[in-house]
Amino acid sequence: MRILNTLVAGFILTLVGCGEGDGKANTQAPSAPVTSAYTLSSEPADAIAVGAARETAENDKSITVVGRIGGSEKPFVDGLAAFTIVDLKVAYCAEDEGCPTPWDYCCNQKDVKSNVATVKLVDEAGKPVSGDARELLGVKELSEVVVQGTAKRDDQGNLSLAVSKVFVRAGK
């Protein structure tokens, strides 16, 4: 009798003493379109395509480039206002194909390599801006943007744009 009572008491104590907290929240803040100091209200003229910019851009010279945000599954850089853009002539997966991430151009990857550029938002001092480009510019994957800034091309043909102003085309 006493042994059974002891067992029951032991069981209850075991349950009570086994508490262990390990909860970790995993939240993702939704991006909201905003007007900021980095956005343009009207579209700049004479913007050139990404593919052409990769051929003609000169280092540290001003340039205006038009492209579509994408090129990989995660075109935005977490922690920096930076992203990749792809030439508008490169087709992305059509909606009816059912691709969950059409902005990664998985159907047309071979054309992306020679038609992609990296865009990083810089402040007046030329330093990369911290934060999320989606929140700062009100853009998302597949948004069409016209960016104004300076170009940097390396020997391997990679094009990087340090931009201070971005125009986001309506409806994209």
Binding site: L4, L7, F11, C18, S72, V77, K113, K120, Q156
Partner: protein, 412 residues
């Protein structure tokens, strides 16, 4: 027959009246706690069998939950939040299929500021990670995981601790604590001094390491240049970089995006293993389904047993009703018996699981991990046991209480 009924009646009333007269001052009258407990001891064989069956059910649930917890914890703890992995963008989430240029570590450290650097040594670890067939001295073996590292690797892989022997020199390897489980060989085959064969070369075991139960523990580590020579590879699989605590990996990600020609991606190690957790989600769901099935089977087995137990006590239950106990009080006492039995079974199963099964190595596709009978596994197992005890007793008890007292008193 009649004398037997009278005997039961006298015994029950005598005991109940003697032990619970103080309860009757206020109604409703409940059966004393000791009544249910003594009933269990009155039928030792039946109680023993019920206890054994419940213990097995609870133990099975604890083992399956321990499997799920072991897998989850192994993957969760494998990722160091300050380490960023740089590997091929085409490899997706499988580092084993990654191949990047051997010059990548130097390129990264010269281009990126922010990695930890002390006394001129950058905390970066170029590695080859490969799954290959490994054969022990007695001819047994299986598919094992090799990580070829440099002497700078411990600066980045901070979980790894050499607990026996020495760092591998020429022609040597060190084996993780769970490497034998991963290979499916006797642990004695991977002790220091033994030899193993992989990639057409014989390697002597020089040390044994632990890594806080992470995925590294199922690996075998060797010297990077020597492994490159053995496999005739000039490339590497990945570079692991240590960043200062709380720092951002944004610059590394940006570098990888800018250098499209290198086809690199930067992924925090914690994110890499979180993605693996998602990959193994179906396995975990299946394991939870097993928990449900085992619990369901246990419930029906327990119910079946309780039906038998209560069927044999029809006259006793009727007698209790005849002396004035309400059906609710008798039902409560029967549930108490079931719950006490389940609690004892849960305790036994918990003790066995903790002392014998906890930490037992489990072989898995991604390596090996230790069965983790933690507080969560104990609570799920014991909780299920208690629910089984209560629910299992309920239907047969209700069935017995619905019958007429007069009929039941005459029952054989």
């Amino acid at each position: 027959m009649l004398s037997q009924s009278i005997l039961i009646f006298v015994a029950v009333t005598d005991y109940v009246l003697a032990s619970s007269h103080h309860h009757r001052v206020n109604s409703p009258m409940l059966l004393p706690w000791e009544y249910g407990i003594r009933n269990l001891a009155r039928r030792p064989v039946r109680s023993g069998l019920t206890l054994a069956a419940l213990s097995i059910v609870v133990l099975l649930i604890m083992v399956v939950v321990g499997f799920i917890r072991g897998l989850e914890v192994s993957l969760a703890e494998s990722g160091d939040p300050d380490v960023v992995l740089i590997y091929s963008v085409s490899a997706g989430e499988n580092i084993e299929s990654s191949a990047i240029a051997a010059r990548t570590p130097d390129l990264l450290t010269s281009s990126i500021a922010g990695t930890v650097d002390r006394f001129g040594v950058t905390f970066s670890s170029p590695e080859i990670y490969l799954g290959t067939r490994i054969v022990s001295e007695n001819g047994t073996g299986g598919l094992g995981l090799i990580r070829a590292v440099s002497e700078r690797s411990p600066l980045v892989r901070r979980q790894v601790r050499l607990v026996e022997g020495k760092w591998p020199g020429r022609g040597e390897v060190m084996a993780g604590n769970l490497a034998a489980a991963k290979l499916g060989v006797d642990p004695a085959q991977l002790v220091i001094g033994r030899k193993i064969l992989f990639e057409g070369q014989e390697w002597k075991i020089s040390g044994r390491f632990v890594a806080s139960g992470t995925a590294f523990e199922s690996e075998i580590w060797c010297n990077l240049p020597e492994f490159q020579a053995a496999t005739k590879r000039q490339d590497i699989s990945l570079v692991a970089l240590l960043l200062p605590p709380q720092s951002s990996s944004a610059e590394l990600t940006l570098f990888c995006k800018e250098r499209t020609d290198l086809e690199l991606q930067a992924v925090r190690e914690t994110e890499y293993y979180a993605a693996l957790q998602q990959y193994y989600r179906p396995v975990r769901l299946l394991a939870w389904l097993v928990v449900l099935l085992v619990a369901g089977a246990g419930l029906f087995a327990g119910m079946n047993m309780m039906y038998g137990a209560i069927a044999g006590r029809i006259r006793e239950i009727a007698t209790l009703q005849a002396v004035g106990y309400r059906r609710r009080a008798i039902l409560l006492s029967l549930i108490q018996e079931g719950v006490v039995m389940a609690a004892a079974a849960s305790l036994l199963a918990g003790l066995f699981a903790l002392s014998v099964l906890n930490g037992h190595a489990v072989r898995f596709t991604m390596g090996a991990f230790a069965l983790k009978i933690d507080s969560f596994a104990l609570i799920v197992g014991c909780g299920t046991g208690l629910i089984l005890g209560a629910l299992g007793a309920l239907p047969p008890a209700i069935k017995a209480l619905r019958q007429s007292v007069a009929v039941c008193l005459k029952a054989i």
